[in-house]
Amino acid sequence: MKILTQVLEAYRNIAKEAAEKNPKRRYQAEPAIKYFELLQEDMAQQKPVLWSWLCIPPELYRGLHVTAICPEVLVLLLSSLPGRDLSAYLDVEDLPPEFCTINRLVLGLAQSGDFALPDMMVYATKNPCDAGATSYSSVAYSYNRPAYFLDVPYARDIRSMKYVAEELLNMVSFVEGQSGRKMDWDKVRQAIAYSNQAMGYLRQLLDLRKMVPCPLASRDLMVTRAAFLSLLGTPELTDWMARRYQSALETVRKGEREAPQEERVRLVWVGNPPNSNPGFLDWLENEYGAVVVSMIQTEYNTDAIDNCGDVSRILDGLAVKALEFPMARHGRMSTDYNIGEAVRLAKEYKADAAILPSHTGCKWNWTSAYMVREKVQDASGIPVLNFEFDSIDKRFLSPEGMQAKFHEFFQIRLGMKPVGQPATSGR
């Protein structure tokens, strides 16, 4: 697991550097470090390695005898590291260049041998996309790995919830069969208790972001998202979120802001974040006083799951979470649903503009992007920027190219100038 060790080391260095130069930002690297450390602990206990798709409730794995790795989380954390050249992994043999780079990177890592293949795989069909399903299926087949495909229906009604709950139960049986160890449901109950607490903090943090001006920095959303993807169901996440919430509350009480500039324009980010260029959100704040107040990727269903009832009740609750997972529900369901979500976010977070970034490999997004742009503009009355970029591969659109698109949007659509230049207000 060469790559896991390398990424862990890189995040430790980031944390060390932050501790010296910007202690306030030290917390940002903590979830990634903890994630890889927990994986190392599981591997040290000889737990079989399982690759799991990101929208499958991780709480279940806490009760199973496995080292559950989400390759997409690895990919997101890897691509966020500054100065790493991923082209050797991305230019994977056989796949066309337009195939989603998130999945291409997973395949490339597997083919390179730097990321060892798992003992078993669990992934979801179309939750959110075809590229994920087909690439995992291809890995399972090509490398002869036992796999469970969790089928997720289109809608998110009671019938769908019951279907997914049954699928989750079958998945548990599959993992038990592969690992040779029975599920410990008490550990799952405990993991859900941690998740419920973390979700409670998330809800409160997101509510703080609705304040005008927003007291919290844009990049915090990306860090929070990464923390939830990697640590959900652990005490480490609950502890981290508690500290984050207390820190944010303190900032508000003091009447301060974590974003460095005056807030001139509020943005909702309705699509993939710039994983390979996380500093871009800082640039938006510094250059235009533009604060990303909401991201669709952190719009979790934060309702608590009943963890006191019988197993079927637990599975029902986790099935709802699987169906409601951010991005999964947006990719799986109708365009109208996405439009409604974008309009809701714009209203709730009092946004001045919506950013609709379309990751180049994201087919569901691209097929309906123009319709979403048009309808969100009409329904919310705010300008929408739709642009093509790659969430992972900076070669597709460089940071400078991305900045140029925003310069144009702010200056032409919003009549703004960069901070420090004579400007008309964004509001």
Partner: protein, 373 residues
């Protein structure tokens, strides 16, 4: 070869004469978008199911303002024709969660074009008992929608009859394909596929009558005698000119693995007296598209069997650009076929004829490899 000529003529455009005649009798036509939608349910309701495709689409002027160009051109061309009004004859639309692009393309269609009856089918991605039961419920909801909207009544008897009629249609198309096993098949691969596509968009009885006659007409006849290699195409949709390019380069397409072609017709529905269950199980268990994960081995077996049966010398794996499913599936399929010693060519292409010169060159190079043994 009158009947064959008539079939070929009918297959030449989206709007065909037999659909017009059906409509003239006051009977409804409902479009559907994917091979996982069972035509049997529509036939049992006295409705003509019409599988949407984009025959004849040469440009994308209208759709380019609605859908980004970095998406599947089959989906874009279908919408282009809808925006042009070519699908005005439809009384309704049934779509499904088959692939991301087609599903969202229909969202655009519904936004821009009046569709009348519209129904979404949530098709499972696996074929175990739970999935089959789910699909039975979905089909039941579709039937209710059709009955309510079109005043039809779908009984088990009618459904069993529809299964028999659709099985007959499958059998007839298969017989056309079987001619490809001959040394000099009387039909080219592109012609056979065109008729197979037509089968999904015209009344069953008329199709059966014409095809039976055409099969009689073909008896004892030989087709093209001179060609460089016997080829199979895999992954393509309906033919939009590419099989012809391959044939012009000297290849003889003798069969295919296409959701519009053999994959949809090779096997009949087994009737057990429980028609809803029979249909659901059939559509989920046969493999017509890599949308069903974990079916790579089945697809390889299917292609391998066809290669043997049709004495195929080379396989062309066609990927319509931006199709995630076939992009992923081709990776393993190509490796499997290479291990079996079957020459393969992966051809990335658009739906409409584009980059024809490059494709011809690649096919010619492939034919040289195949000829070289």
């Amino acid at each position: 070869m009158k009947a064959l000529e008539e079939l070929k003529e009918l297959s030449g455009a989206v709007h065909n004469r037999s659909v017009e005649q059906w409509k003239a009798q006051g009977k409804p036509v409902v479009g559907y978008i994917c091979s996982y939608t069972p035509a049997e349910v529509f036939h049992a309701a006295g409705i003509l199911p019409y599988r949407i495709r984009a025959k004849g689409c040469q440009e994308t002027a209208l759709v380019d303002t609605v859908m980004a160009t970095n998406t599947c051109s089959f989906a874009r061309c279908c919408l282009e024709l809808a925006l042009k009004g070519e699908y005005r004859f439809l009384d309704g639309l049934v779509y499904a969660n088959t692939c991301d692009t087609l599903r969202r393309m229909i969202d655009n269609w519904r936004n821009k074009v009046a569709t009348g009856f519209c129904h979404f089918l949530s098709v499972p991605h696996k074929a175990d008992e739970g999935a089959v039961n789910w699909y039975v419920q979905e089909l039941s909801m579709l039937a209710e929608g059709l009955e309510r909207t079109f005043g039809a009544t779908i009984t088990d008897d009618k459904l069993n009859q529809a299964i028999r009629a659709c099985n007959e249609r499958r059998g007839l198309v298969r017989k056309l394909y079987e001619h490809g096993k001959k040394d000099n098949p009387p039909l080219s691969g592109s012609e056979t596929l065109a008729i197979s596509v037509l089968a999904s968009s015209m009344p069953l009885d008329e199709f059966a009558r014409l095809t039976r006659t055409a099969l009689n007409e073909m008896d004892g006849r030989n087709g093209r005698a001179s060609y460089r290699a016997r080829l199979m195409t895999v992954g393509n949709l309906d033919d939009s000119g590419y099989a012809q390019i391959i044939e012009e380069a000297g290849g003889l397409v003798v069969t295919d693995a296409s959701c519009f072609g053999t994959l949809s017709v090779w096997e009949p529905i087994v009737q057990t007296g429980q028609p809803w269950h029979d249909i659901a199980e059939f559509y989920l268990k046969r493999v017509t598209c890599p949308r069903m994960p974990g079916t790579e081995g089945q697809m390889t077996e299917y292609v391998k069997d066809m290669v043997t049966a049709f004495r195929v010398e080379g396989v062309i794996l066609e990927r319509v650009r931006y199709c995630n499913y076939w992009s992923g599936a081709t990776v393993s399929l190509q490796k499997d076929l290479q291990q079996l010693g079957i020459p393969t060519l992966v051809l990335d292409r658009e739906y409409f004829p584009s980059g024809v010169g490059q494709i011809r060159t690649r096919v010619q190079a492939f034919l040289e490899i195949v000829e070289g043994g």
